[in-house]
């Protein structure tokens, strides 16, 4: 990949990352809108997903009876296994209209004074992509959080109860203890969101622009590769796309290594 | 020193006479300054002893004294543990087995484990001949004969002859252990190491296995680790007492339990600690 992207690297250098020009006809290529779209959609996804994931993990490991736990964990496992093309498909025809008619007007009416929620509502766009991504990474983060919570010995929880803690206070203590593991799980989920292709491609709007409003269409690194690679118009175009792939690989590599190290260190301490 | 103490009982002929006469030595196993370290911490240190052919030697001692570690070094089982290091010599028929291929050594030195561990995917029959089959022997008539012979020898034949093709896991614990013994002797070892073979079994199964051990003496050299002193007294000819990784005393079993030389041994065999 490094070799195959040499043409674009030679031509654009580091400016590639900071230029927001993307014009296959003029052979001007800059990756900034894609990097922006990828990072922002993934981070919003994480912000939506993290509290829900922790909630689910607590729900499964601390609150419900085994007869509920088993089928619900199974369903969440399935959620992680559904092909992303199906998420995307569902995203276009169900989620996007729902966002356009319900969620986005609601957000606009409440937070409309903020630049993020201004402008026209298309349904597809950055926010919708984030929501889809949030649904997709929740199983990852929650299963890691749940594993860590399960690993905390019962005696520790009993100690908290014995000191007069309420159930939530005991759980909060367990969560605080598990924070680096949860962080590791979140980073892993972030890595997954950054690399996610099909679902994002189908709902993000695919427009190489940087706009403050989250309702606007955007583009992600993986999506532009998916959309343009097979029909790229020239070697410079291909080379630029491969360079984006390289950046994507670099980012996910760093993020995943970080997550693995975090999780390794937690599991080592536990054992 | 306890090593001198052992000399008079155990060494009746020396290595030199062996070489001249060409007879097999009466010493089955001899360890010289055997030490085993796990993660740089010693589990056993400087163990030197001789084990006589066709005897039952019991190794006793409190938990964590290194008796299993010692036993497992005799068939080079520590090769499997990356953090284990073994020093010293282990002589079997006057050859240092630490310089040999562990696979070849283990064919001559069989092992029976604490918990019965038949292969769960195999039938009773397949378990009985597993050692041979895994080592490439596949002639069916031969295997059938060997399976029958060894199951009979392990006292299991009458109980299983009608259901040889059923899974080994369907047997009771005691039967499984006897199956494991049959499996071990099918490889025709000279020496059988037993690591608390009855500790997971009920008294009736235990007595069956003790009987086997007693009968096996004519054909095999047996080294048995046990935490049950009555068992050691019942079945062994010689007993070694280990404490904190060291060999404290090694003598004839009767003497060990009636008139031990060391205070520590006396305290242990009379139940004052351990």
């Amino acid at each position: 990949m490094f070799i195959d992207s040499s043409e674009s690297r030679d031509r654009f250098g580091f400016g590639f990352i900071f230029s927001s020009e993307w014009d296959p006809v003029k052979e001007e290529f800059g990756a900034l809108p894609f990097i922006y779209g990828t990072i922002l959609s993934s981070i919003i996804a994480l912000i939506i997903s993290l509290p829900v994931s922790i909630g689910v993990a607590v729900f499964l490991s601390e609150i419900v009876h085994k007869s509920v736990k088993t089928p619900v964990s199974f369903l969440i496992e399935i959620l992680a296994a559904i092909p992303s093309i199906i998420y995307g498909f569902w995203g276009i025809y169900v989620l996007a209209p729902f966002m356009r008619t319900t969620v986005q007007p609601m957000l606009q009416s409440v937070f409309g004074f903020l630049p993020f929620f201004k402008g026209q509502m298309f349904g597809t766009g950055l926010l919708t992509a984030s929501v889809i991504l949030a649904i997709m990474i929740t199983p990852i983060i929650s299963s890691i959080t749940r594993d860590i919570l399960n690993a905390i010995p019962v005696s520790q929880r009993e100690a908290a109860y014995a000191l007069g803690a309420t159930k939530w206070e005991a759980i909060k203590m367990a969560l605080l203890n598990a924070r680096s593991g949860i962080l590791g799980g979140s980073v892993l989920g972030l890595g997954r969101a950054i690399g996610e292709t099909m679902a994002v491609t189908m709902v993000i709007g695919n427009k190489a622009q940087i706009k403050a409003s989250l309702f606007e269409p955007a583009y992600s690194m993986a999506s532009v590769i998916a959309n343009e690679f097979a029909e790229a118009s020239g070697s410079m175009h291909i080379s630029s796309l491969i360079e984006i792939g390289l950046i994507l690989f670099g980012v996910t590599f760093v993020i995943n290594s970080l997550a693995r190290l975090l999780i390794y260190s937690v599991t080592r301490n536990a054992s | 020193m306890e090593i001198q103490e052992t000399e008079d009982i155990v060494t009746e002929d020396t290595d030199e006479t062996d070489k001249i006469s060409g007879r097999e030595s009466k010493t089955a196993i001899q360890t010289k300054k055997l030490s085993v370290y796990f993660n740089d911490r010693p589990a056993i240190e400087d163990i030197s002893l001789k084990i006589k052919r066709n005897t039952v030697t019991a190794i006793i001692g409190p938990s964590g004294c290194g008796k299993s570690t010692f036993l497992r070094s005799l068939n080079l089982m520590h090769d499997m543990t990356p953090k284990a290091r073994v020093y010293g010599e282990i002589l079997i028929q006057n050859e240092d087995i630490t310089e040999f291929n562990a696979v070849d050594v283990r064919k001559k030195v069989g092992m029976v484990f604490q918990k019965p561990n038949p292969f769960p995917t195999m039938t009773i029959y397949e378990n009985a001949v597993s050692g041979l089959k895994l080592n490439g022997k596949t002639k069916k008539s031969e295997l059938d004969e060997i399976a029958e012979k060894n199951l009979k020898y392990a006292g299991l034949w009458e109980e299983v002859k009608d259901r040889l093709k059923t899974p080994a896991m369907s047997l009771s614990g005691g039967q499984q252990q006897r199956l494991c013994i049959a499996r071990t002797i099918a490889v025709r070892p000279d020496i059988i190491l037993m690591d608390e073979p009855t500790s997971a079994l009920d008294p009736i199964s235990t007595s069956k296995i003790e009987e086997l051990i007693y009968n096996f003496k004519n054909h095999y050299t047996i080294v048995i680790v046990t935490h049950n002193m009555q068992q050691a007294a019942r079945i062994s000819d010689l007993t070694a007492f280990f404490y904190l990784g060291k060999l404290i005393e090694y003598s004839k079993t009767r003497r060990m339990f009636t008139n031990p030389k060391e205070k520590l041994t006396e305290a242990y065999v009379t139940g004052k600690f351990g």
């Binding site: 829900v52 199906i86 309420t166 792939g245 | 499997m80 769960p120």
Partner: protein, 287 residues
């Protein structure tokens, strides 16, 4: 005589703490519901939209040109099977072998490195793996091909298969390995004939999981296998695949194609669901 009395003083803020407790617990329950909701929605929506368009034609007919209704995805289903077959030929042996290596020969540097590489590989976006396959196979051969697509799927399968193999082998008690070694059986024979055989049902279910996942992968096929609307079984040529066809149909403006895409989506979800259920059943029975 002194009398012992237990005096309970009311802790400060007890009411507030109790309220916080109930609120947070309820939030956790809500989180559980929120997570399950989209799943059930996707599941029922796909079933509803898919099952009505599912007919024998879907499995036996080729796609019809635009404007004509009917037709099916026979070529895409066959294509997916071929692609998964190629992927399996690459992913399963490599994955199982590295799983064995990590589990049975753990402790040395190489095995830690292999483990780290598989962990990283599992995080590499599938589209990047597609580019990799493109660079290795499509560029030198100068055309899109099923071989390249299968290769990409194979690489994607490796980390899942490795992980499952490793986990299943670790479940095999050490005593079983020792039993075999004590019979004078060499280490690799012990691994192959005893450890692997005993763990086989678990490994097979893991392979099924990896396969089901690969079957739904779209991104790496976009510019490797590329897709094809005709009947084509030569692995040296572009080949259709079920998820590719769903993608193409889903973003098309034709109502009839959407229906077919939902049918395809239903087939995929059904596959994922069945395999996961099967895996649950098999693993629950044993451990």
């Amino acid at each position: 005589m002194k009398q012992n009395t237990l005096k309970l003083s009311k802790p400060v803020n007890l009411t507030r703490r109790k309220v916080t407790n109930s609120v947070m617990i309820s939030l956790c329950v809500i989180a559980g519901v929120i997570t399950i909701l989209p799943l059930l929605y996707i599941f029922f929506y796909t079933t509803k939209s898919g099952i009505s368009s599912l007919n024998p034609d879907f499995f036996t007919q080729l796609p019809k040109p635009v404007g004509e209704t009917g037709g099916g995805m026979a070529n895409a289903i066959t294509g997916s099977l071929i692609l998964i077959g190629i992927g399996g030929l690459i992913g399963i042996p490599v994955g199982v072998l590295s799983g064995i290596y990590i589990s049975e020969y753990s402790g040395n540097i190489t095995s830690t490195v292999v483990k780290f590489i598989t962990d990283i590989l599992s995080g590499v976006p599938s589209i990047v793996i597609g580019i990799f396959a493109y660079g290795i196979i499509v560029l030198p051969m100068q055309r899109f091909s099923a071989l390249a697509g299968g290769f990409a799927l194979g690489i994607l399968m490796i980390p899942t298969v490795t992980k499952v193999t490793e986990e299943m082998l670790r479940l095999i008690p050490q005593s079983l390995r020792e039993a075999s070694l004590a019979l004078g059986v060499s280490r690799w024979k012990t691994t192959l004939r005893i450890v692997l055989t005993t763990a086989s049902s678990g490994i097979v279910t893991g392979i099924l999981l990896a396969t089901a996942r690969a079957a739904g992968e779209t991104a790496p096929l976009l510019f490797t296998s590329f897709g094809n609307s005709f009947w084509q079984t030569n692995i040296d040529e572009p080949m259709a695949a079920l998820p590719l066809q769903i993608f193409a149909y889903a973003i098309s403006p034709y109502e009839d194609w959407h229906r077919q895409a939902w049918a395809g989506a239903f087939v995929l979800i059904f596959l994922v669901f069945t395999v996961n259920l099967l895996v649950r059943y098999v693993t629950r029975k044993k451990y």
